[in-house]
Amino acid sequence: MNCQDINQAIVEGSASPLPPEAEEHLRTCARCRELAGTLKVPVPADLPSPTVLQEIERGLVANLRPVRPIAPKRYIFVSMMAIFAVTAVLGLSRFGAFAIAAMTPLQMGAIFGALAISAGLLAYSLVNQMVPGSRYRVPPGRVPLVIMILLMVSVAVLFPFQQERSFWFSAWVCIRGGTPVAAFAAVPLWLVLRPGAILSPIMTGAATGLLAGLAGTTALEIHCPNLDAWHILASHLGVAVIGAVVGLLVGWAVETGN
């Protein structure tokens, strides 16, 4: 066993004694012996004062009433996905589904698949962010970034880049149409999130805004027959970016206001 193995043993067995091979190494290596000795944390010397403990206990008991644990993850996840889908469909019923006829089956399957996966990942991340100490496969701060990259690459691969005369005008028309859909989705999403314990309002705000924005993006993808990749990137995905930025700013205001 060498010094690196000792590190490994300390990291992995933080609460248990070191294995016998480690003890052998410790006999010969002064540095590891010092490290292991330092990390043998004794019983805390500075216990909280009894007055503080009593004050805490009194405070907790005074307001004690039964609470029902938060809903299971799958219910919250399904609620979020339902909000996403219903809002997109409502937006579509208002604007019409002109893009369906313009897209090939491959484009349709791939872009709506990417949007559904993105919404699913965001909803799953948000469900975890509602409960402190949840398990993450991808750190929640990275999820919005990963999703934006996934969607941008999908659009760049699936749709042709063209020169458009009235690029800014048509982009503005789509942004103006998609943003209210996103705002409409944000309200019920916030209601679903409210019972949770949001520890990082900035991160949760950005993810919620992005999910709401993706509802707007989905409505535009079904409605807008303009298949220029620049247009989709700037305006359809632009709605998602606007949602994320607004959510982030709201989260920032909440966090700094606390």
Binding site: V11, T38, P48, G133
Partner: protein
């Protein structure tokens, strides 16, 4: 924790007495003074009380508690910075130890860990003081077990170097 959710009047005392020493030490090793650490401890328990419905029965308790404690520490740090920026700068006079109190208020572990970068300090404190496993630290810090392992490895390497430099300094002084 489940009894606490069901409003068993004895549950808060059991939880508070079992978990407060570890939490206090967690705050102390994150560079808080004794008084600040006790304030943070109180804030943590009151926040835990407010969000106790978010604990899902059957899930590990420690990551849930430490994730909240971690957030309280960040908020407390931010609040104290805001207060500091509004107060005129004063010379800091170190507290004198009370009669009979050992000269070194900080044990060796806290003194050493204080020299680590924040992320490494947090991980090592949770592992060694809180008694959390790698997986639990990952949950408490919204990270992955791999990332926590890497931070802990780097932290231990740094601690080893620090110990060596202390030993050399002590050797040179003799």
């Amino acid at each position: 924790m489940e009894r606490y959710q069901q409003a068993d009047p004895e549950a808060p005392a059991v939880l508070v007495s079992a978990l407060s020493p570890g939490l206090l030490r967690f705050f102390r090793s994150q560079s808080a003074t004794s008084g600040q650490a006790e304030d943070l401890l109180q804030d943590t328990w009151f926040r835990i009380h407010r969000v106790r419905h978010t604990y899902r029965p059957g899930e590990p308790v420690l990551p849930w508690i430490y994730a909240i404690a971690r957030r309280v520490r960040v908020d407390g740090y931010r609040r104290s910075r805001r207060i500091d920026s509004h107060e005129p700068a004063m010379e800091v006079v170190p507290e004198r130890p009370a009669e009979g109190e050992p000269r070194h208020a900080l044990p060796v572990f806290e003194a050493l860990v204080a020299a680590l970068p924040e992320a490494q300090r947090e991980v090592i404190t949770m592992l060694k003081v809180g008694g959390l496993s790698l997986e639990e630290v990952a949950r408490a810090t919204s990270s992955t077990a791999g990332a926590v392992k890497q931070k802990a490895h780097r932290g231990y390497d740094r601690l080893r170097k620090l110990l060596r430099s202390y030993a050399e300094a002590a050797g040179g002084a003799q």
